[in-house]
Symmetry: C2
């Protein structure tokens, strides 16, 4: 798929790394390659390669045997990725979809959602959250043998 200027996303891999590192930093102030490797299910040597690349791009500080931290620019991108993840999750939760299904959908969809689509989903979610009767009517029209 060709990237367009409207994409909120860089590459899928880059997004997933920045997202993971941000969450690890929240938990303990820094991230370790071994934790990223485990959380993303990617080999340590691949993780090392990508960390060097993201370091060269100025998105994080990576020195072997030391904790990884995001730069200001890396933090900004990570926050946008996480905000997008949370927006899509909030949207899908309106419809009584199983949490694990929502998580799998969001992890996939979030890399392919333009700013315009995200803004439509935000306005839609806000409307449905403040108009429960409308939401209830929509949900009642869903035919689902299972979630």
């Amino acid at each position: 798929m060709a990237a367009t200027p409207q994409r909120t996303s860089g590459s899928v891999a880059r997004d997933d790394y920045l997202e993971q590192i941000y969450h690890l930093m929240e938990q303990k102030g820094y991230a370790r390659a071994v934790d990223i490797s485990r959380n993303l299910g990617i080999s340590q040597s691949s993780v090392t390669n990508m960390l060097q690349k993201l370091d060269a791009e100025g998105l994080l500080n990576y020195e072997r045997y030391r904790g990884i931290t995001l730069t200001e620019q890396g933090t900004e991108i990570a926050k946008a990725i996480i905000a997008r993840h949370e927006m899509l999750t909030r949207f899908l939760r309106l419809f009584g979809i199983a949490e694990e299904t929502i998580y799998a959908d969001v992890e996939g969809m979030e890399h392919h959602v333009s700013r315009a689509t995200l803004e439509a989903i935000r306005a839609l979610t806000q409307h449905l959250e403040t108009n429960p009767a409308t939401l209830k009517e929509i949900v009642s029209q869903m035919s689902l043998p299972e979630s």
Copy 2:
């Protein structure tokens, strides 16, 4: 991303092949490897490999130098993929998003949308299509410097 039983999608690549072959068959009754290669931007040797794999899975009939046709099972899967593509397109068109942005988003998102999410989007789209005042209110809440 681990596949779940709720996914509407097989692999991204498989979906894209079946979708393309279906469209080519609609145009002229059969598909050729060279057209698939051009439309998907994939090398002919990779296309040949995948066609052999899909043939072995019973999804299409592939003999070198002859046209490719989908089996009944392949046709059924392709139709589901195309219906999902069309549903997502119909949904995003409600919000005045640029056509090329919609196309890029749908081509990415369609591989990551569970049956439950697709059904929610279907019910939502139907509601907004039949309640233009609600849609208009939502669109008026969107803040978009550009589409």
